[in-house]
């Protein structure tokens, strides 16, 4: 939040190093002390410290996801290992897109990029990555003083309009077939103009605050939150594997964090796999399953659980 000292002066393009990320993690450890024991917060951040191990900053790219794929391919062809946690950033993207065949508007001023995560999580933890990414971004936005909330799965909304979106795709490296999670992110930070079709549904942080935000500082904040989110997934996995129990049985702390930031539970929604093109049914959200699925109560009183798809609030 602004009163915690996030500088609000606008910058000129992204310029971040892995060292900057390391310093931000130390600040994140301090921020987490309000709700976590110091040693626990530090332990979690150590697990997630791979995020931002390498940071690439580009003036422009066609798509950050494409750059991630070509980077992994090139590294393999050279017989080198990809640094887990590599973050690729670009001031603007030329041909970005959202899920399915949707366009994503990514001009200068926003935070556009991709995190490369070598998939070493168990399936039950990996399924929570999309929720964790949303939690990280929502927490970062709230640190700027904006009252953002999450809409299942991971849309970050302010006043019902979307300020951030994510695209998570698996990628198998061409030679060794190693599996990576490519986590594409787009946050409307200082960009203020949207195409006509997005004007009523998209919003930027600077529009909300009425002033620009230091993009580098926000990027570091987001990466620190991502470190914590990934660290939480790894720490919980270790606790369960050692049979120490990870908090309440069946209720992962990532789900608690998501629920604390979300306004989805209790809302009347329209559900669809591709809700824009093919809305399916209306229902009321009654909760989340222990693996992050959405529990929906239809008008006939029956419940249905959805693990993929999208909702829009009614």
């Amino acid at each position: 939040m602004a009163e915690r000292g996030i500088p609000l002066a606008a910058g000129n393009g992204l310029a971040i190093t892995a060292g900057d990320v390391g310093r931000e993690l130390r600040l994140e450890s301090l921020r987490r002390r309000e709700s976590w024991k110091t040693e626990e917060a530090e332990r979690i951040l150590r697990y997630g410290a791979f995020v931002g191990s390498v940071v690439e900053c580009h003036a422009t790219l066609d798509r950050a996801m494409n750059r991630a794929r070509s980077h992994i391919t090139a590294m393999e062809q050279e017989g080198r290992s990809v640094h887990n946690g590599t973050v690729i950033l670009a001031d603007s993207l030329g041909s970005s897109r959202g899920r399915f065949d949707r366009a994503w508007h990514a001009p200068a001023g926003g935070l556009w990029g991709c995190l490369i995560h070598a998939n070493t999580l168990l399936p039950q933890s990996r399924n929570l990555i999309p929720l964790g990414v949303g939690v990280a971004c929502c927490e970062a936005v709230r640190e700027t003083g904006i009252g953002a909330e999450l809409r299942w799965v991971n849309d970050v909304l302010v006043d019902g309009r979307k300020v951030a979106g994510f695209l998570i795709e698996s990628f198998f490296s061409p030679i060794h077939r190693e599996e990576y999670n490519l986590i594409g992110f787009g946050v409307n930070v200082n960009n203020r103009r949207f195409p006509p079709e997005l004007q009523d549904i998209a919003l930027s942080l600077s529009q909300v605050l009425g002033r620009s935000i230091d993009l580098n500082r926000f990027a570091l904040l987001f990466m620190a939150k991502l470190s914590f989110a990934f660290g939480l997934l790894y720490r919980e996995e270790e606790l369960h594997l050692r049979d120490e129990g990870g908090g309440d049985p069946g209720w992962h702390p990532m789900l608690r964090a998501w629920a604390d930031l979300s306004g989805t539970i209790g809302r009347r929604v329209l559900f669809g796999f591709d809700v824009m093109k093919n809305p399916q049914y209306q229902a009321t959200v009654t909760g989340l399953t222990e693996s992050g699925g959405l529990i929906l109560r239809l008008d006939d009183g029956h419940e249905k659980i959805e693990y993929c798809g999208e909702i829009r609030y009614l």
Partner: protein, 217 residues
């Protein structure tokens, strides 16, 4: 895939016993309490969005957490392991069998599944065609689209994480599509039925023969 099919044998098998026998197994370890008995009729999930659960078959309790398991297919309980009532069972233990009456369309599909190469779902998730394959299908129709091993044919979507699915199997045309976008597919269930282009006439012959035989009754 054999190019020689004994139609008479296959059809006589389905004519004498037009049923599928669907085994219902323990979803996980736990203590089992049955909710049905041999001979009971059971219903599959219903409703426009399949939101109405099927008939409750058994309850399984693990760590004081009871879970009710419902039928996924309609039919009659033909065999039930009553010796397991109140007992602790392992995951995958067969608990009962449902005798499911087959419709003509299901018989055709069953025969085709014996002769097509079935490309199965790696995980329970929703699936849709990769953009390139979808555009080829839109232009020419699925049965004119040939896919090769290693080709990205589908996208698996789970919790808003999309995973490309690469085809592994014999080169061929997409004859049957067993999934619908937006509907979850269980792990191991077929997604695509693929056959070599030169075998398409044989497949058509099977369909025509079954339709003709069943219609003539």
């Amino acid at each position: 895939m054999s190019s020689e099919i004994d139609f008479d044998e296959i059809l006589s098998k389905y004519r004498s016993d037009p049923f599928d026998y669907v085994d219902v197994c323990a979803t996980h370890t736990g203590v089992v309490r049955f909710r049905v008995k041999a001979g009971d009729a059971v219903e599959a999930p219903g409703g426009e969005w399949l939101q109405i659960p099927g008939t409750a078959l058994y309850e399984i309790t693990r760590e004081r957490n009871p879970k009710l398991i419902a039928a996924q297919t309609n039919g009659t309980v033909s065999d039930i392991r009553t010796d397991l009532e109140g007992q602790f069972v392992e995951a995958g233990e067969r608990l009962l069998t449902i005798r499911h009456p087959l419709k003509k369309k299901e018989i055709i599909e069953n025969i085709l599944k014996e002769v097509l190469y079935l490309f199965r779902a790696p995980e329970r998730a929703k699936y849709y065609f990769a953009l390139d394959v979808q555009s080829r299908i839109d232009k020419k129709g699925a049965r004119a689209v040939t896919i090769d091993a290693g080709e990205e044919v589908l996208t698996m979507s789970l919790m808003k994480r999309d995973t490309p699915i690469y085809y592994s199997g014999e080169r061929g045309v997409i004859h049957s599509v067993y999934f619908s976008p937006g509907v979850s597919v269980n792990q191991g269930d077929p997604l695509l039925g693929v056959c070599a282009p030169e075998k398409l006439p044989l497949i058509q012959k099977i369909i025509t023969r079954v339709k003709a035989d069943w219609d003539s009754e």
